[in-house]
């Protein structure tokens, strides 16, 4: 077991090295950060001087080694735009994204479950047909279009909901780490449209998933037995059938939540939501390369960490995984 864990951790470190190297390899291709820092009057010589000061003119290997050395000290570099350590910027933007994903996940859970169950139980009803038709539409509509339509309908025309930003936020722990929008009315109003947009991608998928799983379960022998036993329909549907429907759904949900983080880039851009996705896109535009690399490292390490932990856990639960790796 010990050897297995060591092997997994070595692999994880190797993957992180590859990610950082890829990040470094592309960084010279996205533009010169110095251009964004100076006015038009600044001469090429002065720009070169600034590049020198920033160490951008050093050979690739020297820059990379310096970066690795700093990383071991927990320093991922300074963001050119924010003029702060890149890690601080990313950590500061993370709560906004997490809240957005959390809100969207909440909508998905609360809406997909009843609709999925209903369409499975009454597949022929007019409402079920409408839901299924609508979900096809939802799947095929790009998220930025949904978002812009929502803004125009509810923000511009009806004036019901705000059109951009996070609104009023509250400091959750009193130390400035987590600004939450969930505790004020204004913050909640600002959450509604972005969360719906983000949810619109996954929601139809889950309605369909729950529906098909539920229909399958309803055909099984033990449900038939339950009917024969004379249990009340509610008990059969919700306790016996639905519970077993949920098992595969939960697994898929876990995976999709991760993917949803990727979709936040579009949603956050349209709503100017100050989260990690928006920050990433902005950093690309400003060629804030040290922030970009830090972002790749942070996101990469989260994925690697989770995967490594899961692998190790699997190793505990299922010994064949461990043995398969042994030569």
């Amino acid at each position: 077991m010990f050897a297995f864990i060591i092997r997994r951790i070595t692999q994880a470190i190797f993957v992180m090295l590859v990610i950082s190297m890829v990040g470094f390899a592309i960084k010279n291709k996205i533009g010169d950060p110095v251009r964004d820092l100076v006015g038009e009057r600044v001469t090429p010589e002065e720009r070169a001087q600034i590049r020198d000061q920033l160490g951008l003119n050093d050979p690739f290997a020297a820059q990379y080694l310096r970066f690795l050395k700093n990383v071991t000290k927990g320093d991922l570099g300074q963001s050119f735009f924010y003029k702060k350590p890149a890690l601080d910027v990313i950590v500061g933007k993370a709560p906004a994204t997490l809240e957005l994903v959390f809100g969207a996940a909440l909508i998905i859970i609360l809406v997909s479950m009843p609709l999925g169950v209903y369409t499975a139980l009454k597949p022929q009803s007019a409402f079920s047909r409408f839901v299924m038709g609508f979900s096809t539409l939802g799947v095929s509509m790009p998220v930025f279009l949904t978002a812009i339509m929502l803004i125009y309908v509810f923000g511009v025309n009806l004036h019901w909901l705000p059109s951009y930003g996070r609104g009023e936020t509250v400091d959750l722990f009193g130390n400035g780490w987590w600004q939450t929008g969930f505790l004020t009315l204004d913050g909640l109003e600002h959450l509604i449209l972005p969360c719906i947009s983000l949810a619109s991608i996954m929601l139809p998928l889950f309605i369909r998933l729950i529906r098909s799983e539920m229909m399958e379960v309803l055909e099984t022998e033990y449900i038939k037995y339950a009917w024969a036993k004379g249990l009340s329909p509610m008990r059969i549907w919700l306790v016996h059938a639905f519970k077993n429907t949920l098992l595969p759904v939960v697994t898929v949900f876990g995976v999709q939540i991760g993917i949803m983080f990727a979709f936040t880039i579009l949603t956050e851009t349209v709503f100017q939501w100050q989260g990690m996705g928006y920050m990433f896109l902005e950093a690309v535009e400003r060629s804030d390369i040290s922030l970009l690399i830090a972002y790749l490292i942070v996101v990469g390490s989260v994925f690697v960490l989770v995967n490594t932990l899961v692998d190790i856990l699997y190793g505990f639960i299922n010994p064949t995984v461990r043995i398969a790796g042994r030569k």
């Binding site: 996205i30 533009g31 010169d32 251009r35 964004d36 820092l37 100076v38 006015g39 038009e40 009057r41 600044v42 001469t43 090429p44 002065e46 001087q49 600034i50 920033l54 300074q78 050119f80 735009f81 924010y82 003029k83 702060k84 812009i148 803004i151 125009y152 923000g155 511009v156 004036h159 705000p162 059109s163 951009y164 930003g165 851009t269 349209v270 709503f271 100017q272 100050q274 920050m279 902005e282 690309v284 535009e285 400003r286 060629s287």
Partner: protein, 517 residues
């Protein structure tokens, strides 16, 4: 010092509660927020806007392109090298310190240490203090644009920025990347005090209660600036009532804003010219003035202004717009396809040729569309242009490397004077002097160089204007570049906002003077 700030802040809060009945808040959505509170860290439009909100210059431009006294109440030329400024008395900084001549000198010396500003103030020798409220600004050579430059002399609070901060770094350090005292702290004499700032998210300004300009009609007590980068979102934010004012307004939304009874659109002429440079070093055809003229005749720039810019630009045929010293009204746009074809025939290039072109796609208003339209127009005289567009982050390196035969560039003269265009775009490129730094067409005419340099030193403004006009005429006759238009500035806001009186062609909305009914 911090204590004093806290005290004054506390005082503002107490006072503002007292006035809360009439407190007016204005929310502003711009495409970007100021990169720093240190006005010397970067010379850019956004930073100059901030400078006008939190600081005051010696003089500032009016809508009619004349000078308005700010921290200087009057000025007079002592001799060709020296101008005397009499400073306003009784002006307080945000910190409570009193503004005197030493602050003007201190600020000038600080500009010298700024990479961005030092080029701008190169003609100056320095600031000489005559007494507490009188300074002489001295130039190395006779310099015609001294007053134009005085609009960049924003006084900083020398006492406030002296000493070291908690990291042991001098408080006046100008740091491009990384923390500095001036990055997050500012003390100027301007109408607004920054009370909180989260970069990229929000800046909150509050009216400075001891603002010297008591005649200013401005009645906004609190201004909240949020950057909204996406054009569609910015417009939606105004239409939905989330913000009171936005700029810039994308041309495709003008109609929508005009048709909404709650908001209004205000535009004003700007000085940024959009041009194409034809590289004579890369393309022998472009050495022939007839070919360049043919191209100028082939471009329907009035059509571009109408269709692509939706009328929010002024068609150009020369570098500087109306109001600038070198503006020559006789130089009019020339779109004439027949003539263009005839010129190509004369040059022996009836069959045309193929060439390359690059343009940014997120730098100027509709830059990509303008470039595309130009390629189609040039195709009509058989010049096949292969266009490549790219984001500005990548564009300028390619521009400097002169990777294409035709390159698009926009230019705004930071002296608000015609000469500046020629210095950067039209003079023979010279690494040693730095002239022609953005002349990727490699157009070179000794007479233009001579006139541009002579105009710099000519203090007789009428004589000077003649020189600048001659330059425009030469460039027009030789089609040294292909002009499109001067971009207009566009603003939109709620009906009750008095936008029109505070805007100007520099795109520095003087929010200190804005009135909310």
């Amino acid at each position: 010092m911090k204590k004093i700030m806290m005290l004054t802040l506390g005082l503002f809060m107490v006072l503002s509660v007292g006035f809360s009945a009439s407190a007016k808040t204005m929310t502003v959505g711009l495409d970007a927020d100021p990169v720093s509170l240190d006005i010397h860290v970067q010379l850019s439009g956004g930073m100059l806007q901030l400078s006008h909100w939190c600081f005051d210059p010696l003089v500032r431009w009016t809508q009619e392109m004349t000078f308005e006294p700010r921290l200087a109440t009057k000025w007079e030329r002592i001799n060709e090298y020296r101008m005397r400024f009499y400073l306003r008395k009784g002006v307080k900084f945000h910190s409570g310190n009193t503004f005197t001549a030493k602050d003007v000198k201190w600020t000038f010396d600080r500009m010298r240490n700024s990479v961005d500003y030092k080029g701008l103030i190169e003609p100056f020798v320095g600031v000489a203090i005559v007494d507490d409220y009188t300074v002489d600004i001295v130039t190395a050579k006779p310099y015609a644009l001294l007053l134009n430059m005085a609009t960049y002399f924003f006084a900083m609070d020398s006492e406030f920025y002296s000493g070291n901060d908690e990291n042991g770094q001098p408080k006046d350090a100008i740091v491009k990347i990384g923390p500095s005292f001036a990055l997050n702290n500012a003390s100027g004499t301007g109408p607004y005090v920054v009370t909180s700032r989260e970069h990229g998210v929000k800046v909150v300004f509050e009216r400075f209660k001891d603002y010297w300009d008591t005649k200013s009609p401005g009645n906004v007590d609190k201004m909240i600036l949020t950057p909204i980068k996406e054009d569609a979102t910015r417009v939606a934010a105004l239409l939905s009532g989330d913000v009171d004012f936005i700029t810039p307004v994308p041309p495709q939304d003008f109609k929508r804003i005009d048709s909404d009874p709650n908001v209004k659109l205000v535009t004003c002429n700007g000085g940024r010219i959009i041009t194409l440079q034809l590289n004579q070093k890369r393309r022998p055809e472009f050495k022939d003035a007839r070919v360049r003229l043919a191209m100028a005749y082939a471009i329907n720039n009035a059509g571009i202004v109408k269709k692509i810019m939706k009328g929010t630009a002024t068609v150009a045929a020369q570098q500087g717009p109306e109001g600038y010293a070198g503006y020559k009204p006789e130089l009019t746009p020339r779109y004439d396809l027949k003539k263009a074809k005839a010129l190509m025939k004369e040059a022996g290039l009836e069959k045309g040729f193929e060439c390359t072109m690059i343009s940014p796609n997120n730098r100027y208003v509709n830059d990509e569309k303008i470039a595309e339209a130009a390629t189609q127009m040039l195709a009509k005289i058989n010049i096949k242009v292969n266009l490549k567009t790219m984001p500005k982050a990548q564009y300028w390196d390619e521009f400097d490397a002169q990777v294409a035969d035709i390159q698009l560039i926009g230019w705004h003269s930071d002296t608000e004077d015609s000469g500046n265009f020629s210095e950067f775009l039209m003079m023979c490129p010279d690494k040693a002097t730095g002239y022609g730094q953005y002349n990727s067409g490699n157009y070179c005419n000794k007479r233009v160089d001579e006139l541009t340099l002579a105009a710099q030193a000519e203090v007789d403004l009428a004589k000077r204007a003649d020189m600048l006009k001659e330059i425009e005429q030469i460039l027009y006759d030789e089609a040294a570049f292909i002009p499109f238009h001067w971009q207009n500035h566009s603003y939109a806001g709620k009906k009750e906002l008095g936008i029109a009186p505070v805007i100007n062609s520099m795109n520095f909305p003087y929010f200190g003077d804005i009135v909310v009914e």
